[in-house]
């Protein structure tokens, strides 16, 4: 029993020193988490067919998906009624300097992405112009056609990562069955005059 006691004593000493050692050795600062695919900025540039003023929609959220500050949605100018605009998208990560162009990545992984467009009060309709390798819509390029009559409402642009492109209605731009993960959702207040 004495040897047992001694064994236990030494075991406890070893354990105690382990605790003290592990307790004091780790003074390093934790690494910053490198968040993949951070998106801060979505810009849609709309060029009217037949000439006119180019209009930009911009959603900017510099503290990204985890920060408390809401994204700021800006529309440079009112849209004109009964007009078709040729739209193109630019997606940036401006937490890095220089800003990272996420548009390129979306182009490379086109099968894994799709933009969805929705307008309230029927102020606009949308058509996909570009398609992925499987001939499913992508939406980096699109056309926006405004209503014949003036009005106001919102236009929502959503970028989904890994949507189910073969689900019902998705190839027509219906987001309801798309699934996947939302990367960006931008809501622009629009006036068509």
């Amino acid at each position: 029993m004495n040897t047992l006691k001694n064994n236990l004593k030494s075991t406890f000493l070893i354990l105690l020193s382990t605790i003290i050692f592990t307790g004091c050795s780790d003074d390093d600062n934790p690494e910053v988490v490198i968040q993949e695919e951070v998106i801060t900025t979505l810009t849609a540039t709309l060029v009217p067919e037949g000439g006119g003023t180019t209009i930009t929609f911009k959603s900017l959220d510099l503290d990204g998906k985890d920060g408390p500050n809401p994204p700021v949605f800006t529309v440079s100018e009112d849209l004109l009624a009964n007009t078709t605009y040729n739209g193109s998208m630019e997606i940036l990560n401006e937490t890095e300097s220089p800003a990272e162009d996420v548009t390129e990545e979306i182009k490379e992984l086109d099968k894994e992405h799709q933009f969805f467009f929705q307008a309230t009060n029927s102020i606009a309709t949308f058509t996909y112009v570009d398609f992925d390798g499987d001939s499913n819509p992508l939406g980096l390029e699109f056309t926006l056609t405004t209503s014949a009559t003036p009005g106001s409402g919102t236009i929502t642009i959503t970028l989904r990562h890994e949507p189910n492109k073969s689900a019902s209605g998705v190839s027509d731009g219906d987001i309801a069955n798309a699934g996947g993960e939302t990367d960006v959702q931008a809501i622009f207040p629009i006036t068509v005059k």
Binding site: M1, L4, K5, L8, T11, F12, L15, L16, T18, I19, T22, G23, D26, N29, P30, E31, V32, V33, I34, Q35, E36, E37, I39, T40, L42, S59, D61, L62, D63, G64, K65, D66, G67, P68, N69, P70, P71, T95, L109, E112, Q118, T120, N121, G153, T154, T156, T158, H161, E162, I175, G180, E181, T182, D183, V184, Q185, A186, I187
Partner: protein, 799 residues
């Protein structure tokens, strides 16, 4: 091991070695604890078939013996019989110590003895092995619901956290085999990592009166103890196999223990569970399977005087979380709540896909105890726990297989306990513990840490005294002090730092500015004082009452302090607060026990007033570039909890039994003058039982479980804007689901195969009528119904 004889003796050495048959064997028999003489103990010389008994002074004498070896056994009622080898050489005097009032000692309980309660003056319920084995395939939280006043807060049906009198998570201590479980219990979706099959008995102590285990258990203490090891040469074990229709699952558990009369023992146990998707009466709950593996090994040496134990356990739970509960933004949540049906329903599968949790918990424990004559018992214990938690969210692209949460929690604890029990009318317990804990949040996840890296240091000391004032009155007084320091390294997004106004109050803890993020080093010290006083009074053989007061403090846990950002598995933004103060609980409770003829009633009432009660509630939405998310914030308020737990038994006759367990609880936010969130609703369980020993020891019971709608809840509903439809919609996140009533059936028989082996076959049906229902305290109630009917066949083989 020649030290097995319990003799502290002085021998008169006779120098004369000639064969002498006039020798006398005489001595005294004492109680080991207080040294008092033991009267009427039997001294039996096996080799000569001679015996005598001790007199009023504990003395005995046997004359006319020849010199040489004798085998003597000393026995007394209430003591364990001692067998000694005695060397007679002339007149020989021995002092023999017996272990008296053996039924009070946890360590050397002989198998078959009643397992005692741990407290005399607290509201405590004991679940024995039989009651636990029925839940072999389920979780600790499921088994504990047998206790009136204990409910559960669930995330689906495999993640079940016990709720004691309305309190859960960090407010409950789970002690397993002497180790305080440290498994990131702060999270509501973190179930205790316990394999019920390692447990022999469960004691549920309501309130913080069990100060020996910790001072911060405002809700209560759950003490899980392994089955006792008997001191005899034996090899025994059991195997439990069960099959379930719901989830098409099985559970297999097997254990084997070898014991030796001298005190050595070694044992091992292993469990495996596999379930696929569970189902409600109407649809499949896609991605709700479970895969659990665990084993434990133990060994040691136990005698009355001294002993040691070593123990290792491993448990891995891979738990799928309902696919439909994964929401992308608040629009999905609105759709889920309004649709009343899960958005994803697929065919049955055993697959466990994201979202899921993969948690591994390991415990290593070593303890040593020694009993000192006329003094008490000292125990020293070291334990180490390693908890590895992965939470996998539905992620896309290269991150697909990466966990969203990867936390490693390591905890070392050393504790010593001294029990002074030499006086039979008073016992003192003293204890010291120190602990070190490290949490590591792996940055490889690519997701900002919800919980930061931290070191936590704990030190505590307690003194508890139990007095037996008379045969009828027991008094208990306890005091405890705990110090804890949490030293964290946490990144804050600068905008969040400013939004929370931390730049005004905590600018001194910023250690690095990375532009858009700040690295901070919050260090918080907490001093916790806890105290308890209890009195138990037995009016007569039929009636008794207890009264108890408990004071306790609980320091805020890491999630309450540091949570910040999107909790992916919950799809909500959770916000802690660095300004959190300790909670202080003042709880008074009274128990009345009535036991007359066929009727027994146990009434437990309590009032718990908690200052700075910490709770999480929905507080609105936050719009991010990915859309809007619900925000849940930790807040503090002054709260009160008032409740009554009833357990009643009525035996019609030898065979028929009626049992009722009911609990009623009311939680108030005293500051806002409204109901508290997440308070269990009124529940009553009625059991009609029939048993007959002659019919293969048949036990059968029909159980009715009625849970009323929780009508007292805070209204945290709010309007949300849905951009795709350009509309404001009410998000009904608060309204509790309606009343439900379920019927369950249990039936078992036992076949004795031989003297040592028996076979117990049980048939259980839960939710007989396949009733659709939702439970208020299930976080997935927004997304799907609860479980439908389950038929379980369980075979238990004891050998």
């Amino acid at each position: 091991m020649k030290y097995y004889i319990l003799i502290v003796a002085c021998c008169f050495i006779n120098i004369v070695h000639s064969q002498n048959c006039d020798s006398r064997f005489y001595g005294e028999v004492h109680d080991f604890h207080d040294g008092s003489p033991i009267i009427a103990a039997t001294i039996y010389i096996e080799t000569l078939d001679k015996y005598t008994t001790t007199d009023i002074d504990g003395k005995f004498s046997i004359a006319n013996l020849c010199d040489g070896k004798l085998i003597v056994s000393i026995s007394h009622l209430g003591c364990e019989t001692k067998r000694l080898e005695i060397q007679i050489s002339g007149d020989s005097f021995y002092v023999i110590n017996l272990e008296h009032h053996i039924e009070e000692l946890n360590e050397v309980k002989v198998e078959g003895k009643t397992i005692t309660k741990l407290t005399k003056t607290s509201q405590e319920t004991l679940l024995k092995t039989d009651a636990i084995e029925r839940f072999s395939a389920f979780s600790l939280g499921d088994a504990l619901k047998q206790v009136s006043g204990v409910s559960s807060i669930n995330t689906g049906n495999s993640i079940v956290k016990p709720v004691i009198n309305g309190l859960h998570s960090s407010r409950i201590i789970v002690m397993t085999n002497g180790v305080r479980l440290q498994d990131q219990e702060w999270g509501i979706e973190h179930a205790p990592n316990i394999d019920l099959n390692t447990v022999g008995s469960v004691n549920v102590i309501k309130g913080a009166d069990a100060l020996a285990y910790g001072g911060d258990a405002i809700g209560g203490v759950i003490v899980l103890q392994p089955s006792n090891v008997s001191l005899k040469d034996s090899l025994y074990g059991k195997t439990i196999i069960s099959g379930h229709t719901n989830g098409r699952g099985f559970s297999l558990n097997s254990s084997l223990t070898k014991t030796y009369k001298k005190g050595w023992y070694v044992g091992a146990q292993a469990t495996m569970k596999r379930f696929g998707d569970f189902e409600t009466p109407d649809y499949n709950l896609t991605n709700t399977g479970l895969n659990s593996k665990g084993f434990s090994i133990k060994s040691g040496y136990k005698t009355f005087e001294r002993g040691f134990n070593i123990y290792y356990s491993y448990l891995n739970n891979d738990i799928a979380i309902l696919k439909s509960s994964h929401i992308g933004s608040i629009e999905d949540l609105v759709n889920a709540i309004n649709s009343q049906q899960p958005l994803v329903i697929e065919d049955f599968s055993y697959n466990i896909e994201a979202p899921r949790q993969d948690v591994t918990h390991q415990i290593i424990k070593a303890d040593f105890y020694k009993r000192f004559k006329k003094f008490g018992r000292l125990q020293v214990q070291y334990d180490f726990q390693n908890n590895q938690r992965f939470e996998y969210d539905i992620r896309v692209g290269d991150d697909r297989d990466k966990p969203a949460i990867d936390l490693t929690l390591k905890t070392h604890t050393i504790r010593t306990n001294l029990k002074v029990d030499s006086k039979s009318d008073r016992t003192y317990k003293f204890g010291l513990n120190v602990g070190y804990q490290n949490n590591f949040a792996n940055p490889e996840t690519g997701v900002r840490r919800l919980i930061p890296d931290y070191d936590k240091y704990d030190a505590g000391a307690f003194a508890i005294s139990d007095f037996r004032l008379s045969d009828k009155t027991n008094l208990n007084l306890g005091f405890r002090y705990d110090f804890s320091r949490i030293d964290a390294k946490k990144f804050y997004i600068t905008s969040r730092w400013e939004e929370r106004n931390y730049d005004a109050d905590f600018s001194n803890i910023v250690i690095d500015d990375l532009g858009s993020q700040l690295l901070t080093n919050p260090v918080f010290d907490y001093h916790n004082i806890s105290a308890s006083a209890g009195i138990a009074y037995k009016i007569n053989d039929n009636d008794s009452f207890m009264f108890n007061y408990g004071l306790s403090n609980r320091a805020p846990n890491p999630s309450e302090l540091f949570s910040d950002g999107l909790h992916h598995s919950a799809a909500r933004i959770e916000l802690g607060d660095l300004r959190m103060k300790q909670e202080t609980s003042n709880r008074i409770s009274g128990t009345y026990k009535y036991n007359r003829n066929a009727l027994s009633i146990n009434l437990e009432a309590f009032y718990n007033q908690i200052s700075d009660y910490i709770f999480i509630e929905p507080t609105g939405t936050e719009l991010t570039i990915r859309g809007a998310f619900p925000v849940w914030s930790y807040n503090q308020t002054n709260a009160s909890l008032l409740g009554l737990d009833v357990t009643a038994n009525y035996k019609f006759n030898e065979h028929w039994l009626l049992n009722n367990k009911s609990s009623f609880i009311k939680g108030r936010d005293l500051t806002k003058k409204q109901a508290l969130i997440d308070i269990p609703s009124f529940k009553t369980v009625n059991i009609l039982g029939y048993s007959n020993k002659r019919w293969l020891q048949l036990n059968t019971e029909l159980q009715s479980e009625l849970v009323l709608r929780q009508n007292e809840f805070p209204d945290n509903n709010f309007d949300v804007y849905i951009p795709t439809t350009d509309s404001e919609v009410l998000l009904d996140i608060s309204s509790p689901p309606p009343t439900y009533h379920l019927l369950h059936f249990h039936n078992d028989i036992t076949l004795n195969l031989s003297k040592q082996t028996n076979l117990n076959i049980g048939l259980n049906i839960t939710n007989i009528f396949n009733t659709s229902y939702r439970e208020y305290l299930n976080r997935l109630r927004y997304f799907a119904d609860d479980l439908g009917r389950n038929i379980m066949l369980q075979v238990k083989f004891n050998y």
